[in-house]
Symmetry: C2
Subunit: 198 residues, 2 copies
DNA sequence: TCACGTCTCTACCATTTGGTAGAGAAATCT
DNA sequence: AGATTTCTCTACCAAATGGTAGAGACGTGA
């Protein structure tokens, strides 16, 4: 593996295409064209289409985990600030790499084996988040509710804003830098209000 | 059109398949098999695959609009109750027809023409929701924020909980009737907390 | 120089795709 | 009865799909 760049370029491109257009509707030829190689070059680097999908999911999980782990450790003691940091961290790829959350969302459309593959990668962070929410609720520093479902709701909200620009546009939103900042601001306020202890 | 039942059966089945597996990965043969006819029967009823997609989107919009319109008119004056009614209304298909919200979410993956088609159907309700939120905020009965983005956030949250059972399962959720009731309860509490005026 | 691993290519294949052409059954109308 | 419309079928087709086979270019170490 003297030259890993082709492999990486394939992974990056596939992540973008899978994430924006959906895994099922992107062919190996589509990816090859975008990278600038032939389909058979992809099949040299990856055993099969299915193998490529798993590798891309790993690639995406890597990227997401780094960002989230850093955010979890970041800000002080106050749980609302900490959740806010994670929300911002997950929102960052929305601007810098829109396909990332789109790909994670694609998990619903994949077969069991790919689902389990991705789950294995994300479960550690997920469990940490849920147990953190649990402990802060017990201390009365977050609105009391089911922490597991709450985590899911938070995910839905953040991921939705990032992966459905089309829907937001239907609501009158404008897809530019100012619009994105606006969404981020509202998202943070929304989550903060939803978690405020009462 | 003496016997509309075949056409309707095709629409219903296509809605389910498109919504659960994604529009791009469902072939005419898949739909035909599920209905129990041949692909050519589908092409008799619908000009092309693209025509079928538009018809299915119409079918979905019809179903969704009826539910939402009724909910908007339902409960009393208090905006939190009214929003709650709409949330419940949109959540109902999650139980009864999981594919419905899944299909709406698919809009991100469709081409411009289908997007505009669906937008045309939903824009009236969407605008009504946004202007309602606006007026209630002005009266100080909802947390003040950007009503347009708020509408989008609400949509994301509700739609996400309904269309991503796989993700919820990763968070530890169990996909049965009790689990669904639990999600609904938490969802309502979450939205209520997020909208509470301060 | 020779052998070897790395990397990309052309050529090909079986299957599936959306779509066309047109026949046949059956109900409906005149 | 005869003609027409409604509905579903069989038989195809060209294009695209994931995947196989195998050759050629390239650098590296012995």
């Amino acid at each position: 593996m003297v030259n890993g760049s082709t492999r990486i370029r394939i992974l990056d491109t596939a992540l973008d295409l899978f994430g924006t257009r959906g895994v099922g509707t992107v062919s190996l030829d589509d990816i090859a064209d975008a990278v600038g190689v032939r389909k058979q070059t992809i099949l040299y680097w990856f055993k099969s289409r299915s193998g490529l999908i798993d590798a891309v999911l790993d690639h995406a999980a890597d990227e997401l985990l780094v960002v989230v782990e850093a955010a979890i450790r970041s800000r002080g003691d106050e749980p609302l600030d900490r959740v806010d940091a994670v929300v911002c961290a997950v929102f960052r790829p929305v601007v810098r790499r829109p396909a990332l959350l789109g790909l994670i969302r694609e998990v619903t459309r994949l077969d069991e084996s790919h689902i389990n593959h991705l789950r294995g990668r994300l479960s550690v962070v997920v469990e940490r988040c849920v147990s953190y929410l649990t402990s802060e609720m017990e201390k009365g520093r977050l609105r009391t509710c089911d922490p597991m479902v709450l985590a899911g709701l938070l995910y839905s909200t953040v991921s939705g804003t990032g992966t459905e620009p089309i829907v937001l546009e239907t609501f009158g939103w404008e897809p530019n830098a100012a619009g994105l900042r606006q969404v981020r601001r509202e998202l943070r306020g929304f989550v903060r209000a939803a978690l405020q202890p009462n």
